[in-house]
């Protein structure tokens, strides 16, 4: 597949989705120019806007680079949502319950998030690889189970007694453990994310493991004849995907959120899958795509300030991109990987 064609196949659906949304907004009587300038202001040029874009790109980027490993191995692990929530759970348990100096508790808390996320992804991996259970269904179910489980934790064992009413949440973690303040990002968090993404790139593109993973995904029979342990490689793809999603959960808890909240980010796992595909399953592309969707999320939150367009209008745009992104508008074969 040549690169120009690949790039075009990702860009065209996005342009089409934007055009369709613009037509919709125009027909329903909104000022399209104001919407566009509002989106740009909310995502890039406004005061603190780009910071917000980075804040919302963070979880998408981490889940998406994790999902990349499963894409490479030919596994469709759509459980990023649940893996992120379980990662957040692992982190909050350590952050709230384990005493000790910050320099020790903080790494352990982050690691706990990665382990919880990794284990939550290992489960569907085993069921798929060893038993042949369809991973799309199992990971979808595990998302619901994670939501219910976290909802129990935040209303039961780790409930914040100070919070009353509908939203259930745990107490806030100690300020010393926080990687950023409530408004979103910090330089520390950015550096950590950059390191994580660089690690993902290294593993995927510059190691024998990454190469074998692609081999297993694209030519499973050939890989078997080469004597590769395909099952074990696939399992590692699941674990890595879960660990990166868990890292996203850990950073949410130690960063912007500061606590574990039930249902804080309902569809972020699905958006992350779209991010991987828009990014053409390459790390640099995923970074760009995560910024695009993170910017859109920042704009969704900002737009009500400057335009009367309902924020659901931009959710239509997001849905349209997901709906159209894998369609072959330009004749040529292309797969998810």
């Amino acid at each position: 597949m040549n690169r120009a064609h690949a790039a075009l196949s990702a860009v065209f659906p996005i342009v089409l989705a934007i055009a369709l949304s613009a037509v919709l907004f125009f027909v329903t009587g909104y000022d399209v120019g104001a919407v566009i300038s509002g989106v740009i202001e909310g995502a890039v040029t406004g005061f603190g806007s780009f910071w917000q874009t980075l804040r919302w790109s963070m979880p998408l980027l981490l889940i998406a680079v994790g999902f990349l490993f499963c894409v490479r191995a030919g596994e469709f692990n759509i459980g990023g949502q649940g893996q992120m929530m379980m990662g957040g759970l692992g982190t909050i348990v350590v952050a709230l319950l384990v005493p000790g100096p910050v320099c020790l508790v903080l790494p352990v808390a982050i690691l706990a998030g990665m382990i919880f996320g990794g284990l939550w992804s290992f489960l569907p991996g085993v069921l798929k690889v060893k038993l042949g259970a369809d991973e799309v269904i199992v990971t979808l179910m595990l998302n619901f189970i994670a939501v219910l489980f976290v909802s129990w934790i935040t209303t039961g064992p780790l409930k914040d007694p100070a919070v009353r009413g509908e939203t259930a949440s745990t107490p806030t973690v100690d300020a010393a453990l926080r990687l950023s303040s409530g408004d979103g990002m910090s330089v520390t968090l950015l550096v950590l994310i950059a390191l994580a993404v660089a690690a993902a790139w290294l593993i995927a593109e510059r190691t024998a493991f990454g190469l074998k993973l692609r081999y297993v995904g694209e030519a499973p029979e050939a890989a078997r004849w080469q004597g590769m342990k395909a099952d074990r490689l696939r399992l590692w793809a699941y674990v890595l995907a879960g660990a990166f999603a868990g890292l996203a959960g850990a950073f949410e808890v130690l960063g912007p959120n500061g606590r574990l909240v039930t249902g804080a980010t309902p569809t972020i796992g699905f958006t992350a899958i779209v991010v991987t595909i828009v990014g053409l399953s390459r790390v640099p592309g995923i970074v760009l795509a995560a910024l695009l969707f993170g910017g859109l999320q920042a704009a969704i939150l900002f737009l009500p300030i400057v335009s009367d367009l309902p924020s659901s209008g931009l959710k239509i745009l997001e849905g349209l991109i997901a709906l159209l992104i894998t369609a072959e508008f330009i004749r040529r074969r292309r797969g998810v990987g």
């Binding site: 038993l131 369809d134 309902p310 959710k315 709906l323």
Partner: protein
């Protein structure tokens, strides 16, 4: 009403949309399409039933419009996955996302309402005389709940005994074989998706103007995905799928009653978890059996 009556009503109310969407979804899944747009189609069905019902003053018009809109969206989905070779799962999730945003947007643009809107019409309830005593729950059931068992049987007949049903199964299981004997795969997939779309519209109608008389943003709240679980749980058979959907309604009702009469101390979430865990078990066991058979 007595406890048992209330419990039965809650179970049937909770189950009806899931059963309808699940049995409708069987047509797609048997044609080989893992349709994650079901959730979105149900939501659109719910909104359209309220919108068109309120505008026309007739619940029937509301339901028919809902079916029409869901059929159109199903054609769009079919065009994308069949003609433009879009990925079924991703386009399905995209369809659902589009429907979540689209219904909220339409509610605000057309009715100037945010978050939720009330419906002026409700579905017809065939039996209303029985207000007291045993079996008083029957007066609470809508026409759609009464018709659902018939639709399940009809779905079973079409899937198992009709020409279309066999063609759908052939396209899903042996696409090249189906093509070889002259079945137009593309057209069969379209028909299957249209049936699924219409069923989701009816499920959404029941949800919005059956029990609560109104629409609220994202009111399906995962029911479309529960329907997918029910299909797998029911082993892709219409009758077993319907019972699986009923079980989801039962778990839901059980959870609600536990929240109200909480004495045992068992967290309600643990009850709601059960159907999902059972689905994973069933998928794993059936996957294992299939694997064992194919390697033998």
């Amino acid at each position: 009403m007595e406890f048992l009556d209330q419990f039965t009503v809650t179970t049937l109310r909770g189950a009806t949309p899931i059963v309808l969407a699940a049995v409708a979804g069987l047509f797609a899944i048997r044609a080989g399409i893992f349709h994650l747009g079901i959730e979105g189609l149900m939501l659109v069905g719910a909104f359209t039933a309220v919108a068109a019902g309120t505008a026309s003053g007739s619940a029937t018009v509301g339901m028919l419009t809902a079916i029409l809109v869901c059929l159109l969206l199903s054609v769009l989905y079919w065009y994308l996955i069949d003609k433009l070779k879009a990925d079924t799962v991703i386009a399905g999730l995209g369809l659902t996302a589009l429907c979540v945003g689209g219904t909220a947007f339409a509610m605000q643009v057309l009715f100037d309402q945010r978050g939720q809107m009330a419906s002026t019409v409700r579905l017809y309830r065939p039996i209303t005389g029985q207000q007291e005593g045993a079996l008083s729950f029957v007066s609470e059931l809508t026409i759609i709940t009464w018709v659902t068992p018939l639709l399940v049987v009809l779905a079973w007949i079409v899937l198992r005994r009709s020409r279309l049903g066999l063609q759908i199964a052939a396209v899903g299981d042996y696409p090249y074989g189906a093509e070889a004997v002259g079945v137009n795969q593309s057209r069969v997939r379209l028909y299957a998706l249209l049936i699924t779309g219409a069923g989701c519209a009816i499920a959404g109608t029941q949800l919005a103007i059956g029990d609560v008389a109104g629409f609220s943003e994202n009111m399906t709240n995962g029911r479309g995905f529960f329907a997918l679980a029910a299909m797998l749980f029911g082993g892709f058979s219409a009758v077993f799928t319907a019972f699986a959907g009923l079980f989801f309604g039962f778990a839901d009702a059980f959870g609600i009653f536990m929240q109200i009469n909480d004495r045992s101390g068992l967290p309600v979430q643990f009850v709601l978890l059960v159907p999902f865990i059972l689905t994973i078990l069933i998928v794993s066991i059936s996957g294992y059996l299939r694997k064992k058979k194919s390697t033998r």
